[in-house]
Symmetry: C2
Amino acid sequence: MSLREQTGYRSETVRRANLSAILREVHLDQTLSRTDLVARTGLTRSGIRAVIGELVAAGLVHEERGEPQGTPGRPSPYVRPNPDGAVVLALEIAVDSLAVATVGLGGHVHDLVWVDRPRTRFSLDETLDDLLELARLVRARRPASDALVGVGVAVVGVVRRSDGLVRLAPNVGWIDAPLGQTLTDALDLDVPVSVANEADLGALAEHRRGAAVGVDHLLFISGEVGVGGGLIVDGRPLVGLAGYGGEVGHLPVNPAGAVCRCGSVGCWETEVGERKLLLLAGHPPNGGRGEVDAVLREAAGGAPEALNAIDNVGRWLGIGLAGLVNILNPQVIVLGGQFGRMLPFVSGSIRSELDRLALDASSELVDIRPAMLGVDAPLLGAAELAFERLLDDPLTWAAAAAGNTEAAGTA
Amino acid sequence: MSLREQTGYRSETVRRANLSAILREVHLDQTLSRTDLVARTGLTRSGIRAVIGELVAAGLVHEERGEPQGTPGRPSPYVRPNPDGAVVLALEIAVDSLAVATVGLGGHVHDLVWVDRPRTRFSLDETLDDLLELARLVRARRPASDALVGVGVAVVGVVRRSDGLVRLAPNVGWIDAPLGQTLTDALDLDVPVSVANEADLGALAEHRRGAAVGVDHLLFISGEVGVGGGLIVDGRPLVGLAGYGGEVGHLPVNPAGAVCRCGSVGCWETEVGERKLLLLAGHPPNGGRGEVDAVLREAAGGAPEALNAIDNVGRWLGIGLAGLVNILNPQVIVLGGQFGRMLPFVSGSIRSELDRLALDASSELVDIRPAMLGVDAPLLGAAELAFERLLDDPLTWAAAAAGNTEAAGTA
């Protein structure tokens, strides 16, 4: 009972819902006329005008005179997000790199820094030392009075959403690492720190700003050292009870398969992950992205061993995707990381396995595409996660950010 | 754009949303005080009073004086659904049976008839002849002026939700059977006919009125001739792009496995379905439910062949569930059909496979329960599906039903 959302609408919840609806549209689409907003929200022109007035007063959007369009009457004004009106800090902890960005409303990337890191500095303390140094660098380039509304963190692990505890991150050797709490204490920024799995956030970013804008039924799969997945169901991220949903890399696909780093046997990741590709292609299995790219170059040159290795991985990709297509009936599958780079070589194998193993009804509907946002997807998704609180309740959190701003100004 | 819901709230959409919220609460919980409704909806007492007044006037709910509770002040009145204020017709097409019910608001089953059927009458025409005869029987027991708001149909197949086309129903041999359109024409009832997969509707019924009330992350698996699944994600059914989601029976789990009736190889259904259990136990594989019950009786008596067969199926149940737990992070798994009856024998095997193959973070959270609604679950789910239109917009469809009533009265 206490966990359930209240289902009615009072006047103040209606006002908040309409502010939220308009700010979400502007945040996602950057430039919209009042006429566009009428069509998208179903609100009246006068209702839209009032809501925009409040968002302008809060510093969240700008309104600009529209260009004359050759039709009678005054042109509809344009609304744009103010990228300095609200900003978030986005952090990413990948296996071989760390990244930090400040992102403004509308998805404007003010600043982005990233560093490669050696596989010898994987402890939580070392990782946070390096990450916080990047964060300080990025924060120092923004005014002290920045209207910060949240921090979002993408990490290569299974994350409890409520507090950012990383339950398991086998590729960096973490078990029950208190990432959310440690970062909250260390950053000391007076805004919430939201942590999520990097593939879940990659899916969110590709859904909002990448290869699958407007797609409400989406499966995102990214292959790096591990295999991550993120699902969008009916327009909303599938998070599960605690935040652990979407771990498609650990779908059991081969009872006779290899032991996985998660402790299980025959996980999809053991058949389609980077190590398997490199082993099959006769490259050092821990060689990382550089070796994967070498295999792809060899395949482009027609080398049989590389082509066979990629084809084998492509078939297993298709086997796992067949099951996921049957379960989810997605509109689009977005392939990220090495899977996106491999797509030209494996699309035939994937399709033939879908034809063989998936239900025709579902497989004939699905479109398979490469990711658009590349390695930045999880970081951009972390920014979107950090904006959620503001997008749900714009005026409350804009006012709070302005309060922080004043406090910083007088400090 | 045209497919997207409008995201704003105008005064009329707010009124409709509040009518919908209150009617849903009363429909699902049968008896609620105004005080309960304040807590659940967040609306004010006067707001609730006004909404209830409109629902009473539309004949959808009754209000009754509450019992004195020993506290000062007048007791809070109780609100109950009027089971004659709106009714639906629910139909079910299973492999070995057909069923029809009339169900009133609040889930009150006015009447329910079902018949076993031979596996020789599987064609669409024969099935509809038999089903329509049952429907006439059930309809004749209700007044001609019945306030019918919809028809819901559960069928053992992969269903396109938009028009009720059954794309594939391998256990009855249907391919692209126009069930929705044919039923709409034959019933000629002036209300919409909504068709869905029976396991999806079983999940809906167990979620609303059975083993998983209040559970927002639910996986329902039912084993009969085939293996059906229904998923509830974040409180809402996972339908997928066209309605084909949830086909967990066709998750590829064994690359070295048997050919499935869907045309694929090594589907979960080939390892855990009725046929496999009966084969392993030395019973006729097409013996149906009676033979399955015989195996369960033998197992209860300690017969090794039956116990081994059940254990084998239990292990494969655990293998498939491990993948689904990793993908969905569910709170509850509900086992229906023969899986529910087998649960006392297989819960240990399922748990040990989850321990071995699923991520600890997700598997330690999941509760595995038998279904509560038994063979009626899909039919009750079909009734819920048929009520959705009324629950979304109570006054519009109550008025339409009253209009149909008047037309019937004057005919």
